[in-house]
């Protein structure tokens, strides 16, 4: 199965790259997406069942949390794939560009899949670096000055970060020389034998490195640029899946601490950075001029939430999973919708967009509803995770943290809603010429939001089982 999702896209990508044919491009893109969905779905029935060639057996495995993140990624990816059809329509690209786009996006997808499934720390590192490299060109896809700058900052800062992460890995292998293996399984099993000092030392580096990819403050600085300058579907992927996968990396490393009963160290680190990210977001959310940057900052905030939740033990993990899913879907939907807005108004400036509801009601309502979903309006799951977070804060005796938490959350919610309603409300005198968008510009977001609604009110039994399985799998 994994080979399918790891190898097939490469062939499809190369095929479309060399075939230079629009039909092939679409087949490759949608084919990959559907295959991912299929694999994910088949794994839902029994995720211990998979097939790998002998050599790679030990390097790739589907465990429960991997499956969870993979399914989230698959859903986001298929919606992005479908949206891309509309994206191609919006800017009439040449066949060559389309093929390039498909190739890059497929490589990007593979890299992320690799991160999710790899069972070896260094291998995970390799794939994380690969995600950086494969997505860098995507960010620069529209060949604008600003996007070039964004791409440069992204690729360079992330590379430095990743390099540091590798230093961390080496330090860990020093610390765990008695184990002489960097497979997560072994690391968990013999966690107690690892020299705690070296463990912490290495984690400091790994956290800085992968944290740079996750885009958590204070390593967030590249994120607003990259996410705002990339083409909208790519932004959706970056924000909806890449951050999650990088987070998964930190999650897996952090589990070592749980097994070694050193988690107090990481918890403190997570709380500090988490609240820092909330603060960074609330500093800028009110003074932004560019709505895609607003979304990027909200991603930083949500990553902060993930880390705060991760620092709260078992209950925290439930929140993490819920929040990761909610953020991926709603943020993907937001970014895709922002693509529509960009197309309709030809501008990323907030001041130049108003009367969206009059210009294109569907886009307008999608924009509003997705925003409500991300700022945690019920019945969307972000609300649940926030409630549970406060709940967990109480049970961990950190109730005073609720004060800064809500201070930031309210400011962020206020800032986002203010911006969004400023854009959607009002009349627009200047452009009343309604420009048609095709179905694919709406369908993916609608589907994502419907899934979110279902999750928010009534989490399906299988999902709940999987989540509980994950929670219990941590000792």
């Amino acid at each position: 199965m994994i080979t399918l999702v790891l190898i097939l896209p490469v062939f499809l990508g190369l095929l479309s790259f060399f075939a230079k044919n629009r039909i092939v491009n679409r087949i490759a893109l949608l084919g990959t997406a559907l295959v991912n969905i299929g694999v994910a779905a088949s794994c839902w029935f029994d995720y211990h069942w998979y097939w790998m060639p002998e050599g790679l057996q030990e390097y790739f495995r589907i465990d429960s949390i991997g499956l969870y993140f993979f399914s989230v990624m698959a859903i986001v990816f298929i919606s992005v794939a479908f949206y891309s059809l509309s994206y191609f329509r919006q800017h009439d690209f040449s066949v060559k560009q389309e093929s390039l786009y498909v190739l890059e996006i497929l490589l990007f997808e593979i890299a992320m899949t690799g991160v999710i499934f790899s069972t070896h720390l260094a291998l995970l590192w390799v794939f994380v670096e690969a995600t950086t490299l494969s997505s860098a060109l995507l960010i620069y896809f529209e060949k604008k000055k600003s996007s070039l700058e964004a791409a440069w900052k992204y690729v360079f800062i992330c590379s430095i970060g990743i390099a540091l992460a590798f230093v961390g890995i080496i330090l860990l292998s020093i610390g765990s020389s008695s184990i002489d293996s960097l497979f997560f399984g072994d690391l968990y099993k013999y966690a107690s034998e690892i020299n705690p000092f070296w463990l912490k030392l290495s984690f400091a580096f790994i956290f800085v490195g992968l944290g740079t990819k996750v885009g958590i403050a204070p390593f967030h600085a590249w994120l607003p640029d990259a996410h705002s300058e990339a083409p909208s579907p790519v932004s959706a992927l970056l924000s909806g899946t890449l951050l999650n996968t990088a987070f998964l990396g930190i999650f897996r490393v952090q589990e070592i601490f749980v097994y070694a009963h050193q988690e107090s160290f990481t918890n403190f680190l997570f709380q500090v950075t988490g609240f820092l990210s909330l603060m960074v977001c609330s500093v800028f959310i009110l003074k932004l001029k560019n709505y895609k940057r607003m979304l990027a900052y909200s991603s930083i905030e949500n990553m902060g939430l993930l880390f705060i939740a991760l620092s709260l033990g078992k209950t925290g993990i439930f929140i993490v999973l819920l929040q990761a899913l909610a953020h991926s879907f709603s943020k993907a939907s937001l970014f895709l919708t922002s693509g529509n807005i960009l197309y309709l108004y030809r501008s990323k400036k907030i001041d130049e967009v108003n009367g969206l509801l009059k210009k294109d009601p569907r886009t307008g309502w999608l924009w509003i509803v997705s925003m409500l979903a991300i700022i945690g309006m019920p019945p969307f799951p972000v609300f649940l995770s926030k409630f549970l977070l406060i709940n967990a804060l109480w049970t961990h005796g950190l109730e005073w943290l609720a004060i800064p938490f809500f201070l930031f959350i309210i400011i962020i919610a206020y800032g986002m809603s203010k911006t969004v309603f400023k854009m959607t409300f009002g009349d627009n005198e200047e452009h009343n010429s309604r420009t048609k968008l095709n179905l694919y510009a709406y369908l993916p977001q609608i589907v994502l939001l419907i899934i979110l609604l279902i999750i928010g009110i009534y989490i399906p039994q299988q999902v709940l089982e999987l989540i509980n399985d994950i929670v219990n799998s941590i000792n």
Partner: protein
């Protein structure tokens, strides 16, 4: 119960269906569903209210919500009553009122959709017994009402008001989420019943939680100083919505408070005193600001704050009665609160509808521009006279009935020999009187200036008489006012079970005594009505064969040149506002040239909201200033960004080496 739930579903679908109907039938469709709603809701409600008891049903959600009870007890039933009645009136009224916006199809669809959502969510809210479910519905309610408020979102001020409202609701919700989360965390369950032992544990935590709940619900209800959204949102919204919000939705905040009180075995005296004081403050503050307003709907919004204060006073007295274990006080307090909830719903709907009619005909809400409407809109004017009398708590009408119960509660309280209690009750006794007379000032101003006298501005000539869709709800409300006002003894027994729910001991005897008092009152007031009629007839007969000359106002021979010479609203209230200048800060802008023969001057005075000016705005400014201190971090310099990471890394390393 299923019946009831189906009713909720009905009104929701009504909203959805009216999206797909043709523009001119949307209102009718919604009305039909609203009527259907009555048939589903009212039988159950009245059954609960009259025979007591409760019906409940269990919903099973997966984690994290878990099992959720839906329970309809007398308290919920009271609110269900006003919600469904409000829905009906709202639906009738909207048909005519929304004709102003004909042509805006998509807006109208969203209007009816969100109305349906709002009504159904309120209806569902009063059933929910599970923390998360409650919060979910609560937020849905806030959001849908937000969309209703920002209906005319092409106007910038409406947009502002909407966002302000949303933000206020978020702050309130934050308190609620915290309170519910902490309470459920320490009780280990999300079910309301499990909160009892947490809230009754006699430590600081339970008090803190109560305060949080009060802050959260109080923001919705509009207790000072959390009220600032009300006077912004109400004028912005379409009138039907303002009525629905002010008459019904802000009551859900009170519902929450009452629900929490129900969980307490006996509320602490400290909390009760706190609530009494805050409510008194709210009422005085609200009416004082209402007096100063020139915008009709803003004035009504402030008067809602006042009435919330009065209701809160009733609740506080009830709590004091419970905490001092004096059921005869508690019963009166809670009875007064419940009665006033109902009454305020009635006359506030009436008044908002009236204001809306005026707006739809004259197209201004500015009191200073109105006048002499009684000649143009006689029907509305006469009905509104009743409304204004009622809201000023005049005898004969329902406003008095509620307030009298609260007065009686205090009077009963005098018999308790407790210094603190006596002082509180005397102060609130005089305070309520003060509020009453201020209400008289406020509403004589409104009625005298807007409806009597001569027009203060040019009206457009062809103002048609009110349509049936306007007359019908006004008539229904008037009948309610008169019935409750004249025959309270018939209406009161309905609310016995509600009060009984709060006072756990049996208070049948006290209740019968109260009924007796009310009989006396209705007897007196009816007699009074008779005497009024007698004197009016006497006058009639005296004048029958005398000459009655119609002439211009004599005014001591002082001949008025134009209607602009009339007394204005602001000049009418100016002497009083001078007395309370501290409470209602006036911003006066006056420029007139100080020469011997001044040509032309300019004078403008508008009053500001005290708590907004001295509490809310400074807070916002400081928070902004704090955050602006960090604006430099995103400077665009890549090396700086890398440096952040390295510095943080170094910090972590140092920390590791230290620990």
């Amino acid at each position: 119960m299923e019946f009831f739930l189906f009713g909720i579903f009905i009104i929701f679908t009504g909203g959805i269906i009216s999206i797909f109907t043709k523009e001119k039938f949307k209102g009718i469709v919604f009305l039909i569903f609203a009527i259907a709603l009555q048939f589903f809701i009212l039988p159950t409600v009245f059954k609960i209210l009259i025979y007591g008891g409760q019906i409940e049903s269990l919903l099973m959600f997966p984690e994290p919500i878990g099992f959720a009870y839906l329970r309809l007890d007398p308290l919920s039933a009271v609110f269900a009553l006003i919600i469904s009645a409000g829905a009906l009136l709202f639906a009738i009224y909207s048909i005519e009122y929304m004709k102003m916006y004909s042509g805006k199809k998509s807006e109208l669809s969203s209007y009816y959709f969100f109305s349906g959502l709002l009504i159904s969510s309120m209806m569902f809210l009063i059933l929910a017994q599970n923390a998360i479910l409650f919060l979910i519905i609560w937020e849905v309610m806030s959001v849908s009402s937000f969309f209703l408020v920002s209906f005319e979102n092409n106007k910038p001020e409406v947009q502002k008001a909407g966002i302000y409202y949303l933000a206020a609701m978020q702050i309130g919700a934050a308190f609620l989420i915290t309170a519910f989360a902490f309470t459920s965390a320490s009780s280990g369950s999300l079910d309301f019943n499990s909160f009892r032992n947490v809230l009754n544990s006699s430590n600081g935590f339970s008090t803190l939680m109560f305060v949080f709940f009060f802050l959260g619900f109080g923001t919705k209800a509009g207790f000072v100083p959390l009220h600032t959204w009300l006077p912004r949102a109400h004028p912005a919204a379409p009138t039907g919505v303002s009525a629905l919000m002010s008459g019904v939705m802000i009551k859900t905040g009170l519902y929450g408070i009452l629900r929490i009180i129900l969980m307490l075995d006996s509320p602490g005296a400290g909390l009760s005193y706190g609530i009494v004081i805050i409510s008194l403050l709210t009422a005085v503050y609200g009416i004082a600001n209402a007096i100063a307003q020139q915008d009709l709907k803003k004035l009504l919004a402030y008067s809602s704050i006042e009435n919330i204060g009065i209701i809160g006073l009733g609740i506080g007295i009830g709590m004091l009665g419970l905490s001092y274990n004096k059921p005869e006080i508690a019963i009166l307090g809670f009875l007064g609160a419940i009665l006033h909830i109902i009454n305020h719903f009635i006359f506030k709907f009436l008044l908002f509808f009236g204001a809306g009619i005026v707006y739809s005909k004259i197209h201004t809400r500015n009191i200073e521009k109105l006048g002499g409407l009684v000649k143009i809109l006689p029907y509305t004017s006469y009905i509104l006279l009743i409304g204004f009398l009622a809201i000023s708590g005049m005898p004969l009408l329902n406003g008095f009935v509620g307030e009298f119960a609260i007065y009686l509660g205090m009077i009963e309280g005098f018999s308790v020999s407790n210094l603190m209690l006596n002082i509180t009750f005397i102060v609130s006794f005089a305070g309520l009187a003060f509020i009453g007379v201020m209400a008289v000032l406020c509403f004589t101003k409104v009625y005298g200036i807007c409806f009597l006298g001569l027009p203060r501005s040019e009206y457009k000539t062809d103002i048609s008489e009110e349509s049936i869709w306007y007359k019908l709800p006004l008539m229904m409300l008037t009948i309610l006012i008169l019935v409750i006002g004249l025959l309270p003894a018939l209406v009161l027994p309905i609310f016995y079970n509600v009060v009984q729910e709060f006072i756990r001991v049996d208070v049948a005897n006290e209740f019968t005594n109260i009924l007796h008092i009310y009989r006396m009152i209705s007897f007196t007031t009816l007699g009074f009505l008779g005497v009024v009629a007698f004197f009016y007839l006497l006058r009639y007969f005296l004048l029958r064969n005398r000459t009655v000359t119609q002439f211009k106002t004599w005014d001591c021979g002082y001949q008025v040149q134009s209607s602009r010479f009339q007394y204005t609203g602001s000049s009418y209230v100016q002497p009083f506002l001078q007395l309370i200048a501290e409470l209602v800060p006036q911003k006066i802008k006056l420029d007139k040239e100080r020469v011997l023969f001044p040509k032309e001057g300019f004078f403008r005075s508008d009053n500001q909201d005290f708590s907004e000016r001295y509490i809310i705005r400074p807070m916002i400014i400081y928070i902004n200033r704090f955050f602006s201190m960090f604006a430099w971090i995103q400077s665009g310099r890549m090396q700086q960004y890398i440096l952040y990471g390295l510095i943080f890394l170094v910090l972590i390393l140092i920390w590791i080496f230290w620990v």
